[in-house]
């Protein structure tokens, strides 16, 4: 299993963060990182730290907000939540990814005419 760990493709981390926040609601950095690892079934090689610069740039773009809060085990943590602009962006990017991955799959599968 360790051998198949994938690198995070550039640009996908933002999408994963937005999707996470949109399904789970406000979450702190650790929670987001864990969620991404769980969804990917631990196949993704994610340095959890890298989500912080990503969170910062998402916030700068106005797609997410942050607020200090208290975690379930009573620790001060910064909670991130998606904004309306973020949701719009998410829809657009989801669509975009879907199309891209379809193209890639079609491209990689042996095509009928080719055979």
């Amino acid at each position: 299993m360790e051998r198949h760990k994938n690198e995070v493709l550039p640009g996908t981390l933002n999408l994963m963060i937005l999707k996470t926040l949109s399904t789970l609601g406000p979450l702190h950095g650790y929670g987001i990182a864990r969620r991404i690892e769980q969804i990917s079934g631990d196949r993704l090689q994610l340095n959890q730290g890298t989500i912080y610069p990503a969170l910062l740039s998402l916030e700068q773009m106005g797609w997410i907000n942050s607020k200090w809060g208290v975690s379930e085990n009573n620790r001060r943590a910064k909670y991130y939540s998606i904004t309306r602009a973020g949701r719009k962006q998410l829809v657009a990017e989801e669509e975009n990814w879907r199309r891209t991955s379809e193209i890639m799959i079609q491209f990689l599968e042996p095509s009928e005419e080719g055979a």
């Binding site: 959890q48 890298t50 912080y52 610069p53 773009m61």
Partner: protein
């Protein structure tokens, strides 16, 4: 949009740097702690739990670094760093910094002065609503006149027929005698059609504009008075409205007061009256004295207006061929019209100050290069520590920009002062029709900033690129041997000095030519002797002195009385005196009078409008003696040339030669076409007189005795013995004794009038300004040369020491350095002479009595510059002779 958002976030990040870092640290800490707790819950030992958490998280420092990159604007931080570093470096070298800064301040300051004047004269919009739509209409008849006033008949035709202006109005100029029991005064009036003031948007302080019916003859006895007159004469009395004042013996009701002018000066008009065109004037096509101005209708372009107005003009030319053949219209915006006379002068100034700035830049660039050479070690170390070339260039450029900025600030202060001096010396005098507003505006700020940035870059880029050339080998070699180091650098520095010298030569030649023209102009013989001559211009009330006899009697009496005053040698009078603005009532009369058509008895007659013209004056018998015009042949006018006696005239030498080349003009008879059609017998030939500027050709001139042709406006001409005190008061008293309602305004010294005549003053102010700029340029070039030669001496100290150790004399060392300096100087002078030779042709039209490639000026300037330059080389060269071979060689 998002970009901008990010930019602001990051800009904010700059100031919240600490807070952001603290928060990130806290976030990471809580992240790790939660992870550790999770791990513990899964049964790991505390040790393992911590380690696993750290591994999952990745490198904390990398994350922080990545976070920082995103949270801030890197370039701003670098800039800030560079600025601090640059400021520190400049601070630690006060000598260098001060020199460079002052040099740039001179250059930038000079440019700011000229720009602020251009801004005030050309660029600032006039303070009226939609000033661009205000169009002045002039008449032209090429090639003779390219800019003339307009005849009333043509104006009325245009006003009626055009569809492009709404409205088209007109003004003219007229002097009035403003009289009351106490204080007679001569005031400048501007008769205008009723719509002119509201069309332009001139504001009134109180009262109202003219009504449409008020610019008809007979209804026009209303007046709007100027703000200055209101303050001066009526003490700002708000009850002035409805009162009457007496202008040329007519009562006018005051209906308004002008607000202080901020736009056009309108020649400092005191009274505005309605311009009432009489039925007779409405038929006049050949006397041109109106200044029409209109407002373009919305949507009409200037080009469309031009086409339509031309069409109307060409129809008029067909309809009235006698007066209008060849006449066309010229349309230009009011602003252009107001700035018209200044263009050539300001363009010249712009090039001069641009030269000064470039020289200043070359100088500072040279200084920077010298310093970059001294800082090579620092730069090599920076490069070795991994600073990229761009990074080093940026650092050095920041420094030069800082210098330029400091120079800009000091320059602005200098400029502020310079502009004040310039305005105070009235150098810009009457070249502008606008009220000059020099207050700071956005345009000036932008200009200054642009000049500063440009200067900083020009000055810094070459030295920065050179210094950052990362050729360590060469640097190390150079640093070690220090003989004739950095060839390329030395070449650049030499080139800069050559350019400086060349530009100073060009500028100096420009100034030299102007100054020579001015001197030439001073030496022109005006044809009379203006020393100790006073002129007093005034005009008589047409009501009181209705008949010509009365007018003549007044002047006869006045001349007699004034001639009897102590200290007065001889007194005369004339209706037009050279270099003296006549004080005839209105423009129309003046134009007709000064330029008279004539016919010679027995010669073929000319077509209408084609006869020759002469400059005319009606004079008293002693006028020629009083002003000092010699009589070449024939006789003077005498007291016997009266109304009843045969009509006589005196002509000038020029006219005699031109129209009577092979015969004696005396006894021939001429007729003036503008007036009574009577032949006058020529009784004398007088010397030629310059009448309208020393640089003008003398026209043909005709004089008549005033007893035969009196005018209600004459200028008294008095020749005194020296400058007796109290004479002016005595003259005034005599005039008031004759008529206590007669305003006497200016008693002028004729020699001053000649000296300050427009064209003379133009050349003088231009020559002086160019001279100042050229002097600055030469000074800067000398400093530059001095700097480079000092550097050369320093670099070649060892070589000189070696040569001396081998037996060279101090004089050989001197020659070595002087040769180097002389080479640069001669190269620069040669380039400069070539440049001047090419450029001065542009100046030719402004010169007088000297060709644009005057060899004397070219040689003189070269000699002057070469001696200054060699002196600048000599000082460092002398240091070379003091080189002690032992010290020099040991210093290795």
């Amino acid at each position: 949009m998002t970009r901008l958002r990010i930019f602001f976030h990051r800009l904010l990040g700059l100031f919240l740097k600490r807070k952001l870092e603290r928060e990130l640290e806290e976030e990471i800490r809580s992240h790790l702690e939660i992870q550790i707790e999770d791990n513990l819950r899964q049964g790991m030992s505390p040790e393992d739990a911590r380690r696993a958490a750290q591994i999952r998280f990745g490198g904390v420092e990398q994350v922080k670094e990545a976070y920082r990159d995103k949270s801030r604007l890197g370039w701003i931080e670098t800039l800030w760093q560079d600025l601090r570093y640059g400021a520190r470096i400049l601070w630690t070298n006060p000598g260098f910094t001060l020199t460079a800064m002052l040099t740039l301040a001179l250059g930038i300051g000079a440019n700011t002065v000229i720009f602020s004047i251009i801004n005030a004269v050309w660029l600032r919009p006039l303070p009226y609503p939609d000033p661009d739509r205000l169009i002045v209409v002039r008449e032209t008849k090429l090639p003779e006149t390219d800019d003339s006033q307009v005849s009333p008949a043509a104006f009325l035709a245009w006003q009626k027929q055009n569809t492009v202006f709404a409205p088209l109005e007109a003004i003219t100029v007229r002097f009035f005698n403003l009289t009351d029991e106490i204080n007679p005064e001569r005031v400048r009036g501007m008769p205008s059609t009723h719509g002119f003031l509201p069309m332009v948007g001139v504001r009134l302080m109180i009262g109202r504009y003219f009504l449409p019916e008020e610019d008809r003859p007979g209804h026009n006895r209303v007046v709007i008075i100027g703000y200055n007159l209101w303050q001066r004469r009526f003490g700002g009395d708000l009850n002035i409205l409805g009162q009457t004042i007496t202008l040329d013996d007519q009562l006018y009701t005051v209906i308004g007061v002008m607000a202080p002018t901020t736009g056009l000066r309108f020649e400092d008009t005191d009274v505005w009256t309605p311009l009432a065109i009489t039925a007779e004037q409405a038929q006049q096509y050949d006397s041109r004295y109106l200044f029409p101005c209109g407002r373009l209708k919305p949507g009409v372009t200037l080009e469309e207006a031009r086409m339509e107005m031309s069409l109307i003009a060409s129809n008029l030319a067909k309809q009235y061929p006698d007066s209008n053949t060849g006449w066309n219209v010229r349309l230009l915006s009011l602003l252009d019209y107001a700035a018209n006379h200044t263009k050539a002068q300001l363009a010249l100034m712009v090039s001069a100050v641009a030269f000064v700035l470039l020289i200043a830049c070359a100088n500072v660039a040279n200084l920077l290069m010298a310093r970059a050479a001294a800082r090579q070690k620092e730069i090599v170390i920076r490069a070795a520590l991994g600073a990229g070339r761009w990074r080093i260039v940026r650092q050095l450029l920041t420094e030069s920009l800082l210098l330029a900025l400091a120079g800009g600030v000091v320059g602005a202060a200098l400029a502020n002062w310079g502009v004040k001096i310039l305005m105070a010396t009235s150098m810009m005098g009457d070249y502008h029709l606008r009220v000059i507003d020099l207050s700071l505006d956005g345009r000036m700020l932008a200009f200054n900033l642009a000049v500063v940035l440009l200067t900083g870059c020009i000055v810094g880029i070459v030295p920065a690129l050179q210094a950052s050339r990362p050729n360590m080998n060469e640097m190390l070699k150079d640093a070690g041997r220090g003989s004739t180091s950095g060839r390329r650098q030395q070449f650049m520095r030499n080139a800069l000095v050559v350019i400086e010298v060349a530009m100073s030569v060009t500028l100096l030649i420009g100034a030299g030519l102007m100054i020579r023209s001015f001197i030439n102009l001073q030496q022109v013989d005006p044809g009379f002797n203006p020393d100790n001559v006073r002129t007093i211009a005034f005009s008589l009330s047409k009501e009181k002195y209705r008949g010509k006899d009365q007018q003549a009697a007044f002047y006869t009496q006045l001349i007699e009385r004034v001639a009897a005053l102590p200290g007065v040698q001889v007194a005369g009078a004339a209706c037009a005196v050279p270099f003296t603005d006549g004080w005839w009532g209105d423009f129309e009369e003046g134009l007709k009078l000064l330029n008279q058509g004539f016919r010679i008895e027995g010669r073929a007659s000319y077509d209408l409008g084609q006869e020759p013209h002469a400059y005319y004056s009606s004079v008293s018998p002693d006028y020629f003696k009083a002003i000092g015009i010699p009589l070449l042949r024939g006789r003077h006018f005498t007291a016997r040339d009266t109304k009843g006696a045969p009509r006589v005239a005196i002509i000038n030498n020029k006219m005699a030669k031109q129209f009577f080349p092979d015969e004696d003009p005396i006894g021939k008879r001429i007729l003036l076409t503008n007036g009574d059609e009577v032949y006058r017998e020529i009784v004398g030939v007088a010397g030629d007189v310059k009448s309208d500027g020393l640089d003008r050709e003398t026209p043909a001139q005709i004089y008549e005795p005033y007893l035969q042709q009196p005018f209600p406006f004459m200028t008294l001409v008095l020749r005194a013995n020296g400058d007796p005190s109290g004479l002016n008061e005595a003259i005034r008293a005599e005039i008031l004794k004759l008529d206590r309602e007669q305003p006497v305004v200016g008693i002028m010294m004729l020699d001053q009038s000649v000296r300050n005549w427009r064209s003379t003053r133009w050349l003088r102010s231009l020559g002086l300004l160019l001279g100042i700029f050229a002097a600055v340029a030469v000074g800067l070039a000398a400093v530059g040369l001095y700097g480079v030669m000092s550097y050369v001496v320093t670099r070649r100290t060892q070589e000189i020491g070696l040569r001396m150790a081998l037996g060279a004399q101090p004089s050989d060392a001197l020659m070595l350095i002087m040769r180097h300096g002389a080479r640069l100087t001669f190269c620069g002078a040669a380039v400069g002479l070539l440049g001047a030779w090419a450029m001065m042709r542009l100046l030719a039209s402004g010169l007088y009595g000297v060709s644009a490639t005057d060899p004397l000026t070219f040689m003189g300037v070269s000699l002057l510059l070469i001696s200054v330059a060699l002196l600048a080389c000599y000082l460092p060269a002398r240091r070379a002779t003091k080189v002690d071979p032992i010290v020099a060689l040991r210093s290795e």
